[in-house]
Amino acid sequence: MMPTLFDKLWQSHVVREARGEPTLLYIDLHLIHEVTSPQAFDGLRQEGRKVRRPDLTFGTVDHNVPTTDRSLPIADAVAANQVETLRRNCHDFGVQLYDINSPEQGIVHVIGPELGLTRPGMTIVCGDSHTSTHGAFGALAFGIGTSEVEHVLATQCLPQNKPLTMKVETRGSLPEGVTAKDLALGIIGQIGTDGATGCVIEYAGDAVRALSMEGRMTLCNMSIEAGARAGMIAPDETTFAYLKGRRFSPEGDVNYWKTLRSDDDAKFDRVVEIDASQLEPFVTWGTSPGMVVPVTSYVPDPADAKSAADRQAAERALEYMALKPRTHIQEIAIDRAFIGSCTNARIEDLRAAARVVKGYRINSSVSAMVVPGSQEVKRVAEREGLDRIFHEAGFEWREAGCSMCLGMNADILEPGERCASTSNRNFEGRQGRGGRTHLVSPMMAAAAAIKGHFTDVRAWEFK
């Protein structure tokens, strides 16, 4: 059988295979952060174990760091202790840490690619489900729990059962104003939040090839919201151009990287087709990323649900979201807008949002913030004057971190507040207890902040 990209990546990392046991895979890059690593280091200490490959392990602080003035200490003592613990662990075990005031600090899934740590052909893990992001480079990248973090720290290997493969084949190209985020939401809307459970997705087709690396990262990032173990895209000239000159990838093995593609007649366990040309900007209406409709549509009526379980889930979601069935999406008013997260806080995301914002003021009933994905993204944006555009429109311009995507720091929604968010999860309470999250693209979030309600960005009057 002809191999898929996934098969090639898997096969080239097998350390040991034995009948009836999971395969022992070698891990090329291990990214760590403050929240899911302390107990893993504790485990090492208890057993007297070392970090096997500190040179393949990199840490940063992102989940609970404040996005306000970094010259001040972290006010939350428990969060401060967690950051301090990572500092001590990295020091004691010889791991490179991009600390809170380092110029490289940022969301772990933004800085990996930015530094060229993420490269085609690698296996990459991190104690964070959105590790799927790195698959955009043709890597096998997946999120792991803390026990597995400890396993990789101690052995640089991970026993894994081989997942199934799923190909998402796009046809046509994305229309103007419809982004990688909308493609991701469209796919999840089609296959469901457990549609790819047990699978590694490979995204293919013209619409995917046309995406920038930032767009590809957004798409692969959201793979986990479809239940997938990982998402990946075969590397091409776009990938090679992005990596050229990056700190840890100044040259790169382009000849090898070019072999990293599924063979033409490779067999996938499942194939899903999606017509990209028919997609529209999407807005989630519920409390799961699969509860999503186009911006031209309406909040669905639970009575139309396919099953009793779906109806019950939709009713619960509408109650939590304080929405009535058959409300037009563009009639939904927002209180907050959040442009940030490992899904949509790269430079291209900020450029797209700034293009919408330029020359406008945010609606008087909305408060809005932009949280760059990394200090490097922030610097580039400031060089380009994007911070001024956001400032003049009334957005807050913050320091890099996960921020209101999960609200572990002070950036949270108040109960009942409704937010247009470029993040990845609209779960109950995700952005703050009682907060109501609508997932959208950066352009859609920017437009909603200005109008005060959702609006179709395809009809936007750019200034």
Binding site: V78, T146, R433
Partner: protein, 189 residues
């Protein structure tokens, strides 16, 4: 790791699909640097509702949770099985589980059991109808049984079953393959 061989306990029915790890243990409780101290915050937001299943006296002390599909979706936080375990749960029954959550359970002596939707609905309704409803989960025989004639065989990966039965430290196991790891590293410089 705690071994899991056979367990009998009270069943709590959580009749919801897509129970995500943010619900199981909300983010404000993830700042601890220990593996303990999470149980009291399990389902924190939902537990503010007096009618929530785990607030009902009849389910106090439940150690088996039965829930809707895609249980444990979302974040990779291992704090989710830590919180469930500390609260007293030993096994979770659902039509499907998220991948990372499943792995995290097996690392913590917690058994996630995938059953058909019909089987889950049947157990859910029995747990709702009969106060004090108990199940026995037997990992050696791979069965879920009650005292009312219900008996279901379940499937679990052979290796995960073995590790759970033995309570194995799988890091130690991997370290026994040191020579192979070294060989891989030498040939992939």
């Amino acid at each position: 790791m705690n071994a899991f061989i056979k367990h009998t306990g009270l069943v709590a029915p959580l009749d919801r699909a897509n129970v995500d790890t943010d619900q199981i243990i909300p983010k404000q409780f993830l700042k601890r640097i220990e593996r303990t101290g999470f149980g009291e915050f399990l389902f924190y937001d939902w537990r503010s509702d007096p009618a929530f299943v785990l607030n009902q006296p009849r389910y106090k002390g439940a150690s088996i949770l039965v829930a809707g599909k895609n249980f444990g979706c979302g974040s990779s936080r291992e704090h989710a099985p830590w919180a469930l375990g500390e609260f007293g749960f030993r096994a979770i029954l659902a039509p499907s589980f998220a991948d990372i959550f499943t792995n995290n359970c097996f690392k913590n002596g917690m058994l996630p059991i995938t059953l058909t939707t019909e089987q889950v609905e049947e157990i859910m309704s029995r747990a709702q109808q009969h106060e004090g409803y108990e199940l026995t989960v037997d990992l050696e025989r791979q069965t879920v049984e009650d005292s009312r004639g219900l008996s279901i065989l379940f499937v679990v990966s052979e290796f995960q079953r073995y590790c759970l039965l033995e309570g194995l430290d799988d890091i130690g196991l991997t370290l026994t393959h040191e020579a192979l790891i070294r060989e891989y590293e030498l040939s992939h410089r």
